[in-house]
């Protein structure tokens, strides 16, 4: 009885975790599904076809290429701009610093539908209604990834004291040497984390993208389209791969951390 009471919360917590994982199991399962009909979404039989004939469904791989390209570019731009801004906000004192912090925070607090529709209103007002596509999606993604990059890198920077940098300066390192040999390596994990977050936010975005995409199709838009007419099981292969990739990234990060700690001690 006592044992049950002690572990009840843990047990209920694990049940919640199961709830979070059930859809993932379904995604993995369905990636091996051999559907009897395109209109019924259920498991009918086992096959490897979805994995071997990955690009079979019309437009799937094109949409993936578009999504990866946009996510990579948006991540690159947002990470560079966001890291610079995080340095400014943590390391420099200037008038308007707290107002800038607020400006960074607001895009994360606004609903996506509002962000997306206001950006579309701007594009329409500026006469770009006919040119919606790759570039307008890219602009939208840079905009909403930027805040997440600033917040992530800022947290890393704020948790760092500058004693190591002062030590480097005392030992006659030039400011450039101090930055590249001491500061940058210390902030790098934050920057990498921010880049990964921004890549996955961009890759997965639907609501803002759908408003500003014109005729361009990203992967989430492809899934949205096929959801109305019958889903090819290959989208579950993509889902499974994304899951495996994110687990691999987390494990690699953890291994890297441990090795680093081991070399330090």
């Amino acid at each position: 009885m006592r044992w049950i009471r002690e572990h009840l919360v843990l047990f209920l917590g694990l049940l919640v975790l199961v709830y979070m994982f059930v859809p993932i199991f379904v995604v993995v399962l369905m990636s091996f599904n051999d559907p009897a009909s395109r209109n019924v979404y259920r498991f009918d039989g086992f096959t490897l076809d979805n994995w071997t004939n990955f690009c079979g469904p019309n437009g799937l791989c094109d949409s993936l290429v578009t999504s990866v390209l946009i996510a990579a570019l948006a991540t690159l731009i947002a990470t560079v701009l966001g890291t610079l801004a995080a340095f400014a906000l943590v390391r420099y004192d200037f008038a308007g610093r707290s107002a800038s912090n607020l400006l960074i925070f607001l895009p994360m607090a606004a609903p996506e539908i509002v962000l997306g529709s206001s950006l579309l209103a701007l594009f329409v007002a500026a006469g770009f209604a006919g040119q919606l596509g790759f570039w307008t999606i890219l602009i939208a993604h840079v905009m909403f990834c930027l805040s997440f990059v600033v917040v992530t890198v800022r947290a890393r920077l704020a948790g760092m004291d500058d004693t190591l940098e002062q030590a480097a300066m005392d030992l006659y390192a030039t400011p450039a040497q101090t930055f590249w040999r001491v500061t940058f390596p210390l902030v790098l994990p934050g920057i990498v984390g921010a880049a990964l977050l921004s890549f996955s936010l961009s890759f997965d975005d639907f609501i803002i993208t759908n408003l500003n995409a014109g005729t361009e199709t990203t992967f989430p838009m492809y899934v949205w389209g096929v959801a109305q007419r019958g889903v090819p099981m290959q989208v579950n292969v993509v889902g499974t791969l994304m899951f495996l990739l994110s687990v691999a990234v987390v494990v690699a990060g953890e291994v890297n951390n441990r090795r680093r700690r081991a070399t330090l001690t």
Binding site: L14, R42, G82, L89, D93, A110, A121, I207, V250
Partner: protein, 286 residues
């Protein structure tokens, strides 16, 4: 931690400038455009162009035409947020106080599903809640659901999807603030003969309030604006406001009405958030 010396001078501005300009042009300016668009004369069209006539009645028209989806979105978002709070609190509490050395593994497990495509995950709920599926059959067997009862195309399915999709947004801030609580404070309350429930409501819950407030906001705001769950798991009876804004903008090209709806959604959410934060007494969070 040693206090860092903040440097003064122009470099700070220069470093901030690119991000600042990006947000100014693609975040602040769009809001101005949105509000301006919401006041255009609705008799225009996307081909001939719209005329600015400060047509405030766009807002009244939008309310009278779409009060249903707007109200429904707030209710679904609110219910989903409450359910997320209950489920999220249990898991975050277990992680912070009961998981021991498995704490960070559980944290990774909470975040991991999040990186699998939102739409693909939502589609798999379609299978889980399907009419002849395991869940529906069990509920029918237990007489909770009638023999021809279903879950898909009902508010239950939409809210279940919303809860599932936004749960990590609730768990992470809850965990962050629960994990900071010194467990000795809870021990002290039980040493002083407080019943565990009293200890929870007088010690743990108040200390976790910052996490509760930011978690509920991070869940409520995207859940109200979301229309993916309503569209994939619901039917036209569960249409949410995001879907109306999207279709008015992109399919009907009725820009003034769509912009008025979008502006109104922002205002309603902002007002609710301000009242909520003030009542919770955690204004310093903003």
């Amino acid at each position: 931690m040693a206090e860092m010396t903040r440097r003064r001078g122009r470099t700070g501005y220069l470093l901030l400038l690119p991000a600042f300009l990006t947000l100014l042009v693609f975040f602040v300016l769009p809001f101005y455009s949105l509000i301006a668009t919401s006041l255009y004369d609705p008799s225009g069209s996307d081909v001939e162009g719209f005329e600015m006539t400060y047509h405030f009645s766009n807002y009244w028209d939008a309310i009278s035409d779409y009060s249903g989806p707007l109200f429904r979105s707030l209710v679904y978002g609110g219910v989903a947020t409450l359910l997320c709070l209950v489920l999220g609190y249990v898991l975050a509490y277990a992680m912070a106080f009961k998981a021991g050395r498995w704490k960070y593994l559980l944290l990774v497990l909470v975040i991991a599903p999040f990186f699998t495509s939102f739409l693909v995950r939502t589609l798999s709920w379609k299978l889980i809640l399907a009419d002849d599926g395991f869940v529906v059959n069990t509920l029918q067997f237990l007489q909770i659901l009638g023999d021809d009862g279903r879950l898909l195309a009902t508010p239950v399915a939409v809210i279940a999807g919303l809860v599932y999709n936004f749960l990590p947004f609730m768990i992470l801030p809850l965990f962050a603030s629960l994990d900071r609580i010194d467990p000795r404070l809870i021990e002290a309350s039980s040493d002083l003969y407080a019943h565990p429930f009293v200890g929870f409501f007088k010690v743990t819950w108040p200390l976790s309030l910052p996490g509760v407030v930011s978690g509920t906001l991070l869940t409520f705001i995207p859940a109200v604006g979301d229309y993916i769950n309503a569209q994939l798991l619901g039917s036209t009876g569960q249409r949410m406001i995001g879907s109306v804004i999207q279709s008015q903008f992109v399919e009907a090209n009725n820009y003034p009405a769509a912009a008025a709806l979008s502006t109104m959604l922002m205002i309603v959410i902002l007002a609710m958030v301000l009242v909520y934060v003030r009542r919770a007494g955690t204004e310093e969070l903003l």
